[in-house]
Symmetry: C2
Subunit: 323 residues, 2 copies
């Protein structure tokens, strides 16, 4: 296949074809229809593509990694269904969320079914290291739960420092990418050092992505709803950095705004101005840049191959986005 884009399209078709086969029955419909709905949604399949590229970058074959790749996509969809209930989100990728289209009971059960389907797929992985792969996958689920719990706890707190914020986004955002890389490297029979490199790469990529996402929230032309993080009182990189670095007056101003039930338009602009005047925006941009550089430097330590080049292009693809 000629170009990076061709290869990504090929992998995506492969993943979607396999996902189609995961659910081979329709009954009971109240379980399998919402599961199908989630899987039909046409996500970008970033995580399973990462499994494939990580596997190939250490010399592995695609046949060996397609099952764990699809397992991780199923796991990702499980977290989306349950997180959407917890966060009371009505829309995902422009479509109604499962609990909105059906109801909460149906969405809880669909999520639970997706976990089981994910393990079914994972257990089909041809590898002598199936126990270790299972452990990484399972520890990952627990850490995802911890990340979601921390995110919800932080909504009610002001005294969060940057290290706590980073530890939360590692669990909530970077972790699935880290599992993807690590499991890809294991089934590809990479060395221990290669596994660690790929895992570190994914951690930096995930954190860069999340902090960039936090930055996009205050860009009016980002394609996202302007300032929705501020409106939802999310404890983003911007908030955490600003509250720890602003003048006492600005800090009190922020607290007063975030303690209101609904945040007014003019308050959003006040908060945004504090994010700029405190140097928070500059610092966040620098943090994204540093983490991208770090992620790239890990990749350069892999053996030269089409797949390791593709990982660099995947990093660009993930980060060069406007929504």
């Amino acid at each position: 296949m000629e170009t990076f884009k061709d290869r990504i399209n090929f992998y995506t078709r492969l993943i979607n074809k396999k996902l189609d086969q995961v659910v081979d029955k329709n009954n009971p419909a109240s379980l399998y229809s919402p599961v199908q709905y989630m899987l039909d949604e046409g996500g970008k399949r970033i995580r399973p593509i990462l499994v494939i590229l990580a596997c190939k970058s250490v010399g592995g074959e695609i046949d060996k990694c397609i099952n764990p790749a699809v397992a991780i996509e199923l796991l990702h969809n499980f977290t989306l269904v349950h997180d959407d209930i917890m966060d009371q989100d009505d829309l995902r990728r422009g479509k109604e969320t499962v609990h909105k289209k059906w109801d909460e009971a149906t969405a809880i059960l669909a999520g639970d079914g997706l976990v089981a389907l994910a393990y079914q797929c994972l257990l089909k992985t041809e590898s002598e290291k199936i126990r270790e792969i299972g452990e990484i996958f399972t520890n990952g689920i627990l850490e995802l739960c911890e990340g979601q719990a921390l995110d919800k706890e932080f909504e009610k707190e002001f005294e969060i420092d940057l290290s706590q914020y980073i530890s939360m986004i590692v669990k909530k955002t970077a972790l699935l990418l880290m599992i993807s890389s690590e499991i890809g490297a294991i089934v590809g029979e990479g060395s221990h050092a290669q596994r660690q490199l790929l895992k570190n790469f994914a951690r930096e990529l995930g954190c860069a992505f999340q902090i960039q996402d936090d930055l996009l929230d205050i860009e009016e032309t980002s394609g996202k709803t302007f300032a929705s993080d501020i409106q939802q009182k999310k404890k983003t990189f911007l908030f955490v950095h600003a509250i720890n670095n602003a003048s006492i007056a600005d800090k009190n101003r922020m607290k007063a705004i975030y303690q209101q039930h609904d945040i007014r338009k003019e308050d959003i602009l006040t908060v945004r101005n504090i994010f700029y005047s405190t140097g928070t925006v500059e610092c966040a941009k620098q943090e994204v840049k540093n983490r991208i550089d770090k992620a790239r430097s890990y990749l350069t330590q892999l053996p030269n191959s089409e797949a390791s080049d593709d990982l660099k292009l995947l990093l660009d693809m993930i980060l060069n986005r406007k929504s």
Copy 2:
């Protein structure tokens, strides 16, 4: 240890001790406090005890089966937390349910955490058959989801036949017992025939238990809330048998009653009378008896041992209850 009761107490302490070690951290509290709360609740630990006895009955050691035993107890608690949200139940064993004591988001996440903890425990099982054990466990979760989905679907339906009802309770009630027996037999290195015997035993036990539970609903001295299944319009053995065997007049009477928003006290008595006059109660009692006999006959085919005797006593313990 002298008596059956002593041995059950010993196993229960062992299981509780292991459960205490499962969660070795408190942070984030919003995840681990509700998990602890569920595990502290002092359930009867029937399923893990079944794993232990099944393992011992085929000659296995308790050290080999304690991890999968605890894994199944964790899985059971996961289903309780999520089912209680879906069924909007406020109380479990006299205590507030997790979503009532905290909130739904917390309960969804606690359930998800319990699944991960269950797999962590399961993956510690010392057995070359870890992949097969994982598959049985995972297929079980999916069938549990199917059982719960069918139960909810049946709430809105009248045209259910007994075979559909049985297939639902096999998934919803018997399945965790079946997995317990089967995994116990595998780690105990029982023969294929022994695995099948123990699995069949658990299926009959589970079905007998559920139909007996359905019968207890219309006994005023059962210790359970009288007629709560009728009030909740549950499609029990009694309902399904009666609707398929009652006279046309009684059938229409039942339909009219079950289509009301709230069922009145006198309607409950009408339904109960139909359950008696149609021969439904008699038939349900016979069904319980037949299944208990079948369950016992499977056990007699196991090699004679203290553990196989204990399985018979466990069956009596589970079925000789008034609530």
